[in-house]
């Protein structure tokens, strides 16, 4: 049992928990995730670790209520417990001194991006971050990102804040207009955003790392539910990833595989709403 020691509601459906999990906090490295199960009837879902606090032995998990499990999760409060948390899982981000690193986060993808920005910065990189959201109200982690990045750029789809447009517009601007010699791009967000980022960087041969969020069951390489095609080879996101060379990832297949349980998800959400 893992206690929720703090709850923050960012926006209606976007919430963040600080959870007591000292052993996981001790081991967590940027890019890693946990698998949680809320209660006895619960399913196992992966969530990336957004933060850790070694002194207090806590980890932060940020999530958006999209399905039954995240809705149930959102109903929990400070002092409640999550039954199972397994982690840290996955291969940590490869951190080294690349030079200029552009970190791009879309939606709640900004949360798991944050530890990577921090680690890249500590390794001596010049980090330019681009964060985007649909609209100003659901933009998260702005202050944290500003504090950890050398430069922060913001976009909103509706133009309510920052540049009117997509994160890719800012990225193109960095490459084409400001002519910044980017050494590495790291992108975390909705699959379509990551796919678009890769499409921008590919012609320039800028190495681009993406973090995939596939369906998972065990998270230890035992079931293969999380498999994706990378460079024509089947890889398991939970152990071989979650980060891969974005130019090698078959995004279309991945997006298709993510949709496998949409019908069931609808049934579960309907039932959940009526509770």
């Amino acid at each position: 049992m893992y206690e929720i020691v703090e709850k923050k509601v960012w926006f209606n459906e976007i919430k963040e928990f600080k959870i007591k999990a000292p052993l996981i906090a001790e081991k967590q490295k940027a890019g890693q995730f946990v698998i949680i199960r809320i209660n006895e009837n619960g399913e196992r879902i992966p969530l990336t670790i957004a933060h850790k606090d070694l002194d207090n032995g806590t980890i932060n998990l940020l999530f958006q209520e999209v399905g039954k499990t995240t809705m149930d999760l959102g109903r929990l409060n400070k002092g409640d417990f999550i039954m199972d948390i397994s982690g840290p899982l996955g291969t940590p981000t490869h951190i080294e001194r690349y030079g200029i690193v552009v970190c791009i986060g879309g939606g709640i993808g900004v949360a798991p991006l944050h530890p990577i920005v921090r680690a890249m910065k500590s390794a001596g990189n010049n980090v330019i971050s681009i964060i985007g959201a649909r609209t100003k109200g659901i933009l998260i982690y702005e202050d944290l990102m500003r504090a950890t990045s050398n430069e922060l750029l913001i976009t909103t789809d509706d133009g309510s804040y920052g540049r009117h447009g997509f994160v890719t517009d800012e990225l193109k601007n960095l490459i084409d207009v400001r002519k910044i010699p980017i050494n590495l791009v790291v992108a975390i967000g909705p699959p379509i955003m990551m796919k678009m980022v890769c499409r921008v960087t590919e012609p320039y041969k800028i190495k681009t790392i993406v973090s995939l969020n596939t369906i998972m069951v065990d998270g230890t390489g035992m079931c293969g539910a999380c498999r994706v095609s990378v460079g024509g080879r089947t890889r398991f996101v939970c152990v071989d990833g979650p980060e891969f060379d974005g130019h090698q990832v078959d995004f279309d297949e991945m997006i298709q595989r993510q949709r496998q349980y949409l019908t069931e998800e609808k049934i579960a959400v309907e039932r959940c709403k009526h509770k």
Partner: protein, 486 residues
């Protein structure tokens, strides 16, 4: 399974003294038409009467072959004798001297390849139903026996870590705790039991039975740490150096799904048996939406393979509502490695067997879902390394089967998570941990032992259980008597 036999009708009490030909007693169970709509256990197990009758078929051999055939050498004639004498609890004690998980092994052991294969009665008629009797004894004990605290050695204060809570890990934990050591089992998943809970379905092995064994160990003082992926949250080295475990038993099983590497395997609707069964068993997806984990209720499902895993997969598919549930196997019926009983149960349940057939391609529709599978017919050629005749494709015999889903049950490799994070641990080319002898389970790393599927490759519950017990003895000698070293 009983062959129609005239003897069956004779009153048995009259004939008993003259050693009548009593046929092998059947084990009744749910009707196939009923059971394909539920996940309850199929056979009910012997009644007292049937067990007694069956026990009288054993001729109490002076040189019992059955014991030779049993991987852990249970004193089979003795426990059968106790059943005959009506002392079932004593029969349970006899079995438990060598097998700590009889309720499980009685249900899942491939008896027809082990004790029952060599049983002398089997030379002339059907062998004694040793497995069913074992199950009967274990179930009787669970129902009527009282919790007996086994003899416990004085506490030694020595800490032993066990990685994995499958039959290997559980058996080892049970022995070590009785030897007085401080035992903690570390398990990656949220429930202990290994394949017994995530792989083997409820209709074959009720989960309450596994839980009972775990509770028993917890009562003896074994600690269980769930959600603990060794290699991630702690490495083997850290367990030893930081956490003070003096010996480690690696029983992390064969948890790596194998795919065929044919086109179409990443289509929606293709699953490894591990995923399909874990959803259904561990996560209870067959109870969706009461349980949150979803599983698709496909109408036409093909399961590739011919072992126990394949039978479990296909029978699960049938229970989830498949009208057409196929086994596609590249060899012939005789070569299927699954337990005989499972094949028979599958046949009764209307599973369609497509033998000497090999998939070459999975076909998808425009939205990326499975719509069929292309197979090729095979014929048996020369024997291969395994001694079985090698299946070879028949040119031009390709054909398609219309299906919605494919479950791959063609074997399991060894999961590299533990070995890859333990630098001085030697593995063979298949990733199995190398040990000196199965009896001692010493690996290349000081203080680290291994056993079960991670050493042998995917095998059986009884072998993993046996390895766990043997290695416990070796660990004890290492810790206490220093009789085993590196």
């Amino acid at each position: 399974m009983t062959s129609p036999n005239e003897e069956e009708k004779r009153p048995e009490n009259e004939k008993k003294e003259k050693r009548p030909k009593i046929p092998r007693q059947p084990m009744h169970g749910q009707d196939p038409a009923v059971r394909i709509r539920n996940f309850d256990e199929v056979p009910y197990g012997y009644t007292d009467e049937l067990a007694k009758l069956e026990s009288s078929r054993c001729i109490q051999c002076k040189k019992p072959f059955c014991i030779e055939g049993c991987p852990v050498r249970i004193d089979i004639p003795l426990f059968i004798k106790k059943i005959k004498e009506g002392d079932i609890l004593e029969a349970a004690r006899v079995i438990k001297r060598d097998n700590c998980l009889p309720a499980i092994c009685g249900r899942v052991c491939p008896q027809e390849d082990q004790c029952e294969k060599v049983c002398i009665v089997g030379k002339k008629e059907e062998s004694v139903a040793i497995g069913r009797l074992e199950r009967y004894v274990a179930d009787y004990e669970a129902k009527h026996g009282r919790f007996e605290m086994p003899e416990m050695a004085p506490k030694t204060g020595r800490k032993v870590a066990i990685v994995g809570s499958g039959p290997g890990g559980l058996a080892c934990a049970g022995e070590l705790i009785k030897m007085g050591h401080d035992v903690t089992v570390f398990e990656a998943l949220h429930k202990p039991g290994g394949v017994l809970v995530y792989g083997i379905p409820e209709f074959r092995l009720p989960k309450a039975i596994v839980q009972r064994e775990v509770d028993y160990l917890a009562n003896l003082g074994v600690k269980f740490m769930m959600n603990f992926v060794v290699g991630k949250i702690r490495t083997v080295d850290e367990l030893m150096e930081k956490d003070g475990y003096e010996a480690i038993f690696l029983a992390n099983g064969a948890g790596l799904p194998i795919f065929m590497n044919i086109p179409g395997e990443n289509l929606n609707g293709v699953y490894s048996a591990n995923e399909y069964l874990t959803r259904s068993n561990l996560m209870k997806a067959y109870k969706f939406p009461d349980y949150d984990t979803p599983i698709k209720r496909w109408k036409n499902v093909a399961v590739i393979g011919g072992g126990n895993v394949a039978m479990d997969g296909v029978r699960t598919a049938r229970r989830l509502g498949a009208d057409n549930a196929y086994i596609i196997y590249r060899r012939s019926h005789n070569e299927m490695p699954a337990r005989k009983e499972e094949i028979e149960h599958a046949e009764e349940e209307g599973i369609q067997f497509r033998m000497l057939t090999n998939p070459i391609r999975i076909l998808g529709n425009k939205d990326g879902w499975v719509r069929g599978i292309e197979c090729i017919k095979m014929e048996l050629g020369e024997p291969d390394e395994s001694g079985r005749r090698r299946p070879v494709p028949i040119k031009g015999s390709e054909f398609e089967i219309e299906i919605d889903a494919v479950v791959m049950a063609i074997g399991s490799g060894s999961n590299p998570l533990v070995a890859s994070t333990t630098p001085d641990l030697k593995v063979n080319k298949w990733g199995n941990i190398i040990v000196d002898r199965e009896k001692t389970g010493r690996t290349s790393k000081k203080g680290v032992f291994a056993g079960g599927d991670i050493v042998t490759g995917a095998a059986t519950v009884i072998l993993a259980m046996g390895a766990g017990r043997n290695v416990a003895g070796a660990i004890n000698e290492y810790l206490v008597y220093k009789a085993i070293g590196w």
